[in-house]
């Protein structure tokens, strides 16, 4: 078990390094003098200072040394300075925007998981029945509809036409921020986000539960006289849901993408919107810094879910 953990952590670490190499390489492909990204605008620098900075970043030496210098700076939190936002440090911008994104994704994924579980169970239990067909059609629609289209329609119907929710942003401007105000602004984007992510979970739960219900041990449970509800919930579902832990990790990539679109439609000030604006402005230090942080986040979450899965499956844990 310990060996398994060590192996997985090492693999994740390796991927993180590879990712950083990729980001560094892409960064070097962009136009502009690399040193300018690291010049703090608040501190006046002389020619000698700039030359020393160049040396520290390894810009006067080979590419691998440059990578190591860049990586060392990154580990210490120095990802350079943005070309916009009044040249604020990249680290500060990311830290400021991470919260709203986590709030949006967290609440959205929670709703999506609950909804996906509920509808997945219903459609598995009533497989090939009219209810299942309706749910399957809705999920086909859900998979085919682009996230930004659903978001636009949601914004149009609920905020603009019906006026049930504010039309974007995280808080009402000009008014002191309260938790209730933020919550009111969170409802619509989180709900839309949940709907777009629910489809995957629902399909997965349906498939996994149907497969579990076809297994021999379910037949044994029925042969023992166990009540149907108990068969579904206690015997089949427990086995079906074991992999759902890893589903969170596997779907995280798609979820991050969805969050980026939701943030841009609803003007939600998170990492996604930050990245989109940075790309439009070709703000390379910010683009690469944000991408690196997002990539690292996904890697770490995947690692944690893998370890969690190994911990709760008795077949792996007791080896």
């Amino acid at each position: 078990m310990l060996y398994f953990i060590a192996r997985r952590v090492a693999a994740a670490g390796l991927m993180l390094v590879a990712l950083s190499v990729l980001m560094f390489g892409l960064l070097r492909l962009t136009p502009g003098d690399p040193v300018s990204a690291y010049i703090d605008p608040a501190v006046p620098m002389s020619e000698a200072d700039i030359a020393a900075l160049r040396h520290r970043l390894g810009l006067d030496r080979s590419l691998p040394v440059q990578y190591l210098a860049w990586a060392e700076a990154a580990i210490h939190g120095d990802l350079g300075y943005s070309t916009q936002h009044e040249r604020a440090p990249v680290r500060a911008l990311i830290a400021e925007r991470a919260g709203p994104t986590l709030l949006l994704m967290g609440s959205g994924l929670l709703l999506a998981t609950i909804g996906g579980l509920l509808f997945g169970i219903i459609s598995a239990v009533r497989a090939n029945d009219w209810l299942d067909i309706i749910l399957a059609s809705l999920s086909a629609l859900g998979i085919s509809a682009p996230v930004f289209l659903v978001a636009l329609i949601g914004l149009f119907v609920f905020a603009v036409r019906l006026g049930w929710a504010p039309a974007g942003g995280i808080a009402t401007p000009g008014v002191p921020v309260t938790a209730g105000d933020v919550l009111a602004h969170l409802v619509l984007p989180a709900a839309v986000f949940a709907i777009t992510q629910m489809t995957m979970t629902m399909r997965f739960v349906r498939g996994a539960l149907l497969e579990a219900l076809g297994q021999d041990y379910v037949r044994t449970a029925r042969a023992k006289g166990v009540a149907e509800l108990s068969v579904i919930l206690k015997h089949a579902l427990r086995n079906a849901l074991l992999p759902v832990v890893t589903l969170v990790g596997a779907n995280l990539g798609a979820a991050v993408g969805g969050a980026i679109f939701i943030e841009s439609v609803f003007n939600w000030p998170g990492m996604g919107l930050l990245l989109v604006n940075a790309v439009e402005a070709r703000d390379y230090p910010l683009i690469m810094g944000a991408a690196l942080v997002i990539g690292a986040f996904v890697l770490i979450v995947n690692l944690l879910t893998d370890l969690l899965y190994a911990a709760i499956d008795p077949r792996i844990a007791l080896r």
Partner: protein
């Protein structure tokens, strides 16, 4: 059993023909195919029609709602929305299909090298594939687009770099399976070299994987282009693309007051995606039948 099999019987026994039969018997798949043709025909034939001018400006009808002259209304500079939707469809399709072709090439090569090239090649290829799949797709698209720039060619390049890893894994899995089968060993015994094996033996046996991949990736690529254009990269105006037409809706004025301008490309996008997904699912089921009892 003395009669020579007729040409028709031989064809009907071919696995692809049997798969085609199963596809034709699948109502959802056929509906998707019909819908797809209904979308593709106007989109591809559009430039051949007289009077087709997606960039023509009609200053007398700015932001006009749908009417007899402009079936889907006009946009902020007086261009006919229907014309732009059709034109946008063409561009989206061209970009998406080119990207899929390129990614199929890359994916097949990487997968084949990994499966047939020995353990070092396999390890390297798989690590590269894993790395390409680490970043969330949208993030990768944005980062690559920021380096490559806007326009048709850069967008094709960026999207093709997104989808090849999935195919590489599928091809590798299929070829590993086949490597142990007799006909490959026989081909090598016959003295067939690596290229020969790849083209004459490996490729034909990956056709079903490639067909299903191509179809489903086409849907993904269309979405990717639309997403990129929606976020401001991808295909820049004045060229029409479904994504950059939806971009207009990021302005509250357009969103609220001129819904036909963004609902039209949105629904076109949705219908195309639905059609391709149905066809893709149908192909997948037709090529990999599972036996069922009733």
């Amino acid at each position: 059993m003395n009669h020579q099999a007729t040409w028709r019987e031989t064809w009907q026994a071919h696995p692809l023909a049997q798969a085609a039969g199963r596809f034709a018997a699948n109502p959802l798949a056929m509906a998707g195919l019909l819908l797809l043709l209904a979308m593709l025909l106007p989109v591809t034939c559009y430039p051949l029609l007289p009077g087709a001018a997606p960039n023509a400006i009609d200053l007398t009808a700015l932001n006009a709602p749908p009417d007899a002259a402009h079936w889907l209304g006009t946009d902020g500079v007086g261009r006919d929305v229907l014309a732009r939707v059709l034109q946008g469809g063409r561009i989206s399709l061209i970009v998406a299909s080119s990207a899929v072709c390129i990614s199929m090439l890359i994916g097949f090569m990487v997968g084949a090298v990994a499966a047939l090239g020995g353990s070092v090649a396999n390890a390297v290829a798989m690590r590269v594939t894993d790395l390409a799949m680490t970043l969330p797709p949208v993030v990768l698209l944005l980062v690559l687009a920021s380096v490559a720039g806007q326009g048709i060619a850069p967008t094709i390049l960026v999207i093709s770099l997104l989808s090849w890893p999935v195919l590489a894994r599928l091809v590798r899995a299929r070829l590993l399976e086949l490597r142990e089968r007799e006909f490959v060993i026989a081909a090598r015994g016959m003295g067939g070299g690596a290229w020969h094996i790849m083209l004459r033996h490996a490729l034909p046996n990956c056709i079903d994987v490639l067909i299903v991949f191509a179809t489903l990736q086409l849907a993904q690529a269309i979405l990717a282009e639309a997403g990129l254009s929606f976020l401001g990269m991808g295909i820049p105006p004045p060229a029409a693309s479904w994504g950059n037409m939806l971009n207009a809706a990021r302005s509250t004025v357009v969103l609220e007051h001129y819904p036909w301008q963004w609902l039209s490309p949105g629904i076109a996008l949705l219908l195309t995606e639905l059609a391709i997904n149905f066809v893709g699912d149908g192909l997948s089921a037709a090529l990999n039948p599972r036996s069922e009892l009733g």
